[in-house]
C-alpha cells in the first residue's frame, strides 16, 4: 500500500454474459475530493460504483476503504460501514410513508411497548429532511403521493442519515430540477469540507466540470484518462469519452424557423386541475416546438394530455381537427409519446428489444388483419435497431440489460418504426450520453425536414434553444412566453419567464 486513499479499487474485472463491463479498472479517490466519473452509456461507470457500494461483486480485483480491504456483501452493509450510494433508479417503497422510507428496516428504535411510535418516527425523519434542505417534504406523506424529485430527495435523506464517509451519486441529478440539484451540490461540498469523498456520475458535462475536482473518463469498461480540474477542456473530454471527435453538428445550426401553416395538434382552452389553465396550444406540420419551464409548471402533464393519456377537465384536444379522447386515437392520428419516466412508462424492462419495438407497430407488419409472422416482425425490428444504432447482442436481448441511451433508442424505435407523424418527447435526452444525444437531435431535425412535427418538453434550456423552431415557456399551468428561433433568444431571457 502506498498512499492511503479514502477508497481504492484495483484491477477490477466484471462481465455479464458475453458483455465485459469492467476491464482492469483502477480507481483511487482521496478524502476532500469530489471525483467525477464520465463516459458514454454502457461505459462501466455505474458498474464500478455499484461494486464499491456493495450492490454487486466484481469477478476479479480488490478494493480498499481507508486502507483496509473492502468487500461489502450488500448496499446496507456498505452504508453501515461508511460508503453510501444514491442510485439512478427509484429506491423508495411507494406504499409507505416518507418517514418509514427514511428509516426503512430500522423503525425498531422508535418502539414503545412493542409498538412503533409514529410521532417520534415522523419527527426524526423530518429532522433528517430538514438537515439536507428538503424541509418542504412532509415526513408523514405517503411516498406514492410525492413526485419523482421529492422521492429522490427522500433517498438522499435516507443515505445522509447514516453520515457516510464516501458518497456515490449516480446520475441522480438528471431527475432533479435546479432546486433539487442545489441541495445535492450543497451536500457534496459539505462532505468535501469535512475531508470526506464524493464520487459523482452525470451525463451533464457542464455540471460535472463545475462540481468536480477531478474527472475520470471510462469507455468500454476501461479507464481512459483522469483529468485534474485545471486540465478540464470540454472538447478534449468529449473526444476521450467517445474515442473520436464528434462528427457533424450537435444541435442544428440553422435559424430557419419556418413550418407549415397546417395545425396538426391543438388544445383549445384546456383546463386540468392546477396543471393547465385556459391553455391554448397549437403544433404545426413540420414544426419542432420546444416547451420549457420549471418541473411543476404543467409541461409534463401537457405531454400526456396531447397524447390522450390524461383527460382535460374542460376544453378539448384536437388532432388534425378531430377530438382526441385516448391513447389509441392518438396513435391512429400518428402521434407517438416518449415519457420522461422511461423505465416506468415507456418500456417493459422484462421484455426484449423486439417486444418493445414491435408492440407499437403490430399493424405495420401484420399479415392480413390478425396474423403476426416472426419473419416480417424480425425484419421490422432489425430495421429500427440498425437505423438507431442500438448497441445490443441481438433483438431478443432484454431491455433491462441495456444502457440508458440504448433504452431510449428502443423507445424511439417503437414510435419511429410505425412512422409516427407527430412525436411528443418529454425530456428525451435525460440520462443519455452525448453520442446518443447527438444522434437523437439529428434524427429530430431529419423528421422535421420530412414534414413531421415534434413537441420537445425539456428542463434543459440549451436543448430547446438548440433544436426548437418555437419555444413555449410555461409557468403555473399557463403560457408565460413564446420565442421564435429566428429571434435568437438567450437562456437568460427565457429563465426570467420561468421563475
Amino acid at each position: 500500500m502506498s498512499k492511503e486513499f479514502m477508497i481504492e479499487a484495483k484491477k477490477m474485472h466484471k462481465s455479464f454474459g458475453s458483455t465485459v463491463a469492467l476491464d482492469n479498472v483502477n480507481v483511487k479517490v482521496s478524502g476532500g475530493e469530489i471525483r467525477g466519473l464520465i463516459g458514454e452509456n454502457g461505459s462501466g461507470k455505474s458498474t464500478v460504483t455499484s461494486i464499491i457500494a456493495g450492490m454487486q461483486r466484481a469477478n476479479e480485483g480488490e478494493m480498499f476503504f481507508k486502507g483496509k480491504p473492502w468487500n461489502p456483501g450488500s448496499m446496507i452493509e456498505s452504508l453501515e460501514n461508511g460508503v453510501g450510494m444514491i442510485v439512478q433508479e427509484s429506491g423508495t417503497v411507494p406504499g409507505i410513508s416518507v418517514a418509514e422510507n427514511i428509516f426503512l428496516g430500522e423503525t425498531a428504535q422508535f418502539r414503545r411497548g412493542g409498538i412503533v411510535s409514529r410521532k417520534r418516527l415522523i419527527k426524526a425523519a423530518q429532522e433528517v429532511l430538514n438537515s439536507i434542505g428538503a424541509s418542504y417534504i412532509k415526513a408523514e406523506t405517503l411516498t406514492a403521493d410525492i413526485d419523482m424529485q421529492s422521492r429522490k430527495l427522500v433517498e438522499i435523506a435516507k443515505v445522509m442519515r447514516k453520515n457516510p464517509e464516501v458518497l456515490i451519486v449516480d446520475e441522480t441529478t438528471t431527475a432533479l430540477s435546479q432546486d433539487g440539484r442545489e441541495i445535492i451540490y450543497k451536500i457534496m461540498n459539505q462532505m468535501k469540507a469535512e475531508n470526506k469523498a464524493v464520487i459523482f456520475i452525470s451525463h451533464d458535462l457542464e455540471e460535472i466540470m463545475n462540481v468536480c475536482d477531478a474527472l475520470t473518463v471510462l469507455r468500454d469498461g476501461k479507464i481512459i484518462v483522469t483529468f485534474d480540474k485545471d486540465e478540464f477542456d470540454e472538447d478534449v473530454i468529449k473526444t476521450s469519452m467517445i474515442g473520436r471527435e464528434l462528427q457533424g453538428e450537435y444541435y442544428r445550426s440553422d435559424l430557419d424557423d419556418s413550418y407549415d401553416n397546417e395545425v396538426v395538434l391543438e388544445i383549445v382552452k384546456g383546463e386540468l386541475d392546477d396543471q393547465l389553465r385556459e391553455f391554448d396550444f397549437q403544433l404545426h406540420k413540420g414544426e419542432i416546438l420546444g416547451v420549457g419551464g420549471l418541473s411543476y409548471c404543467g409541461m409534463h402533464t401537457l405531454g400526456k394530455v396531447l397524447f390522450g393519456a390524461e383527460r382535460l377537465n374542460a376544453g378539448e384536444v384536437l388532432a388534425h381537427g378531430k377530438p382526441l379522447k385516448n391513447e389509441k386515437e392518438a396513435m391512429n392520428h400518428g402521434i407517438g409519446y416518449v415519457s420522461k419516466d422511461r423505465d416506468y412508462e415507456s418500456l417493459s424492462l422484462n421484455a426484449s428489444i423486439k417486444d418493445n419495438i414491435s408492440i407499437g407497430g403490430l399493424e405495420c407488419f401484420a399479415t392480413g388483419k390478425f396474423l403476426l409472422l416472426s419473419g416480417k416482425e424480425n425484419r421490422y425490428v432489425d430495421e429500427q435497431i440498425k437505423k438507431l444504432s442500438i448497441k445490443c447482442q441481438d433483438r431478443n436481448q432484454y431491455v433491462m440489460t441495456l444502457s440508458g441511451g440504448n433504452k431510449q433508442k428502443v423507445v424511439f424505435g417503437k414510435w419511429i418504426g410505425r412512422d409516427s407523424e407527430i412525436l411528443i418527447l418529454d425530456c428525451p435526452t435525460r440520462g443519455v450520453d452525448i453520442g446518443v444525444k447527438q444522434a437523437m437531435y439529428q434524427l429530430m431535425y431529419q423528421m422535421k425536414k420530412e414534414g413531421k412535427s415534434i413537441v420537445i418538453i425539456s428542463e434543459e434550456m440549451t436543448e430547446l434553444l438548440g433544436m426548437a423552431d418555437r419555444i413555449l415557456i410555461m409557468k403555473d399551468g399557463k403560457k408565460a412566453a413564446e420565442f421564435m428561433r429566428s429571434d435568437k433568444p438567450q437562456e437568460a431571457d427565457i429563465i426570467k419567464y420561468m421563475i
Binding site: 416506468y344 412508462e345 421484455a351 403490430l362 431478443n396
Partner: protein, 330 residues
C-alpha cells in the same frame, strides 16, 4: 473477438437451456415415472392412461388461464367456475336430454363466470384477483346449494353414465386438447391480442401509453379462460358423469402450480408461454403420481404434498436465478 463470440454462444446456449428446461423436466419426470411404475411391477399402459385423464382437464383449463396470468393477473375461481359449469351442464341435460345443448350451456356458463369476474373488477375498480376470490365463494356456494338440494342422499347430481361414455377415450381427448391448444397458440403467439396481453403483463402503464386498452384485453383474456373452463367442465363430465360439491375443488390451485412448473413467470409479461400450461400440467400430474407411488399412504399422509412443495420452490428458485442474472448489467 473470438473470446467474445464464444461468450455470446455460451449466452445463447444458456438462454436455450432456460427455454427448454421445463420440457426437459417433463421428459425427466416422465422417465422417472415410467421407471417407478415398472419397478413396482404395475401396468404402465394403464397408468399412462390414468395420468393422461388426470392431466387433461388441468392442461385445458391452464391453457386458457395463461391468458389471465400473462396479464399479470390471477384467477383463483377457475376450479369453482368449472364446478359451476359442470353443474349447469348436468341440470340442463337432465331437463332437455340434449347433448349439444348441454355443451353450449357448459360453454356459456364458463365464459359467463369468467366474464363476470373481469367486469366486476372493472366496475368496482378492484384488482381482478380480489374479484375472483369473491366469485370463487359465490360459485362454490351456488353450486353446492344446487348439488346438495337436488342430489339429496346421493350427495351429488349426475347425467346417465352412458350419455358421454363413448367420448371417454384417449383419441377424443387428445383431439380436443390439440384443437383447443392450437387455437390458443395461434391467438397467443400470432395475433395482436396475445402480444398485447403479454405486454400488459410486463408493464401495464407502458401498455396504456402504447394505446393498449387494459379492460378490453382483460375481457378477451377472461373469455378465453372461460372457454377453457367450459371445455374442462365438459371433459370432467366425460370422465365422471356426476358432479359433487367438491368436484374440481383443487383445480384453481393446481393451475397455479402447473403454470409455474411449466416455466411461466407468475407475474406474466413477455416471458409468458402458452406451452407452460400443457408442459406444467402434465409435469405436475406425473410428479404427483410418481410421489404417490413412491410413498404409499401408510408412509404418512401429506408427505407427497410436502415434496411437491419442495419441487415448486426449487422451480421458482431456478426461475428467479435466471431473472437475477438478467437484472444486473447496465
Amino acid at each position: 473477438m473470438v473470446k467474445n463470440q464464444r461468450k455470446l454462444n455460451k449466452y445463447k446456449i444458456q438462454q436455450m437451456i432456460v427455454q427448454f428446461l421445463p420440457l426437459v423436466a417433463l421428459v425427466v419426470l416422465f422417465l422417472v415415472f415410467c421407471a417407478v411404475v415398472q419397478t413396482k411391477g404395475y401396468r404402465l399402459d394403464m397408468y399412462l392412461k390414468i395420468v393422461f385423464n388426470e392431466g387433461i382437464v388441468l392442461a385445458v383449463v391452464a391453457t386458457g388461464a395463461i391468458f389471465i396470468y400473462s396479464l399479470g393477473s390471477f384467477d383463483i375461481s377457475l376450479g369453482a367456475a368449472t364446478l359451476f359449469s359442470a353443474t349447469m351442464g348436468v341440470l340442463n341435460y337432465n331437463a332437455f336430454e340434449n347433448v349439444p345443448l348441454m355443451i353450449v350451456v357448459i360453454g356459456v356458463s364458463g365464459i359467463g363466470c369468467s366474464l363476470l369476474s373481469s367486469i366486476l373488477a372493472s366496475i368496482f375498480h378492484i384488482p381482478v384477483f380480489v374479484a375472483t376470490v369473491a366469485m370463487m365463494s359465490v360459485l362454490s356456494a351456488v353450486s353446492a346449494q344446487i348439488i346438495t338440494s337436488r342430489g339429496g342422499a346421493l350427495g351429488g347430481i349426475s347425467i346417465p353414465s352412458n350419455v358421454l361414455k363413448s367420448l371417454d377415450v384417449p383419441a377424443f381427448k387428445i383431439v380436443t386438447l390439440a384443437v383447443f391448444f392450437l387455437l390458443c397458440l395461434y391467438v397467443f403467439n400470432f395475433t395482436k391480442i396475445g402480444r398485447r396481453e403479454k405486454f400488459i403483463g410486463g408493464n401495464p402503464v407502458c401498455a396504456k401509453l402504447t394505446g393498449i386498452n387494459y379492460n378490453k384485453h382483460a375481457i378477451i383474456g377472461f373469455c378465453i379462460a372461460g372457454l377453457s373452463v367450459g371445455l374442462g367442465a365438459f371433459l370432467t363430465l366425460v370422465y365422471t358423469p356426476s358432479v359433487t360439491a367438491t368436484t374440481a375443488s383443487s383445480l384453481g390451485m393446481n393451475i397455479l402450480v402447473a403454470i409455474v412448473f411449466g416455466g411461466m413467470p407468475i407475474s406474466g409479461g413477455a416471458d409468458s408461454k402458452i406451452f407452460s400450461a400443457i408442459i406444467g400440467g402434465f409435469s405436475y400430474i406425473l410428479l404427483d403420481n410418481a410421489l404417490e407411488l413412491i410413498f404409499d399412504s401408510s408412509s404418512g399422509y401429506g408427505i407427497t404434498q410436502i415434496i411437491s412443495a419442495v419441487f415448486f420452490l426449487l422451480v421458482v428458485y431456478a426461475a428467479s436465478m435466471n431473472y437475477r442474472t438478467k437484472t444486473l448489467p447496465r
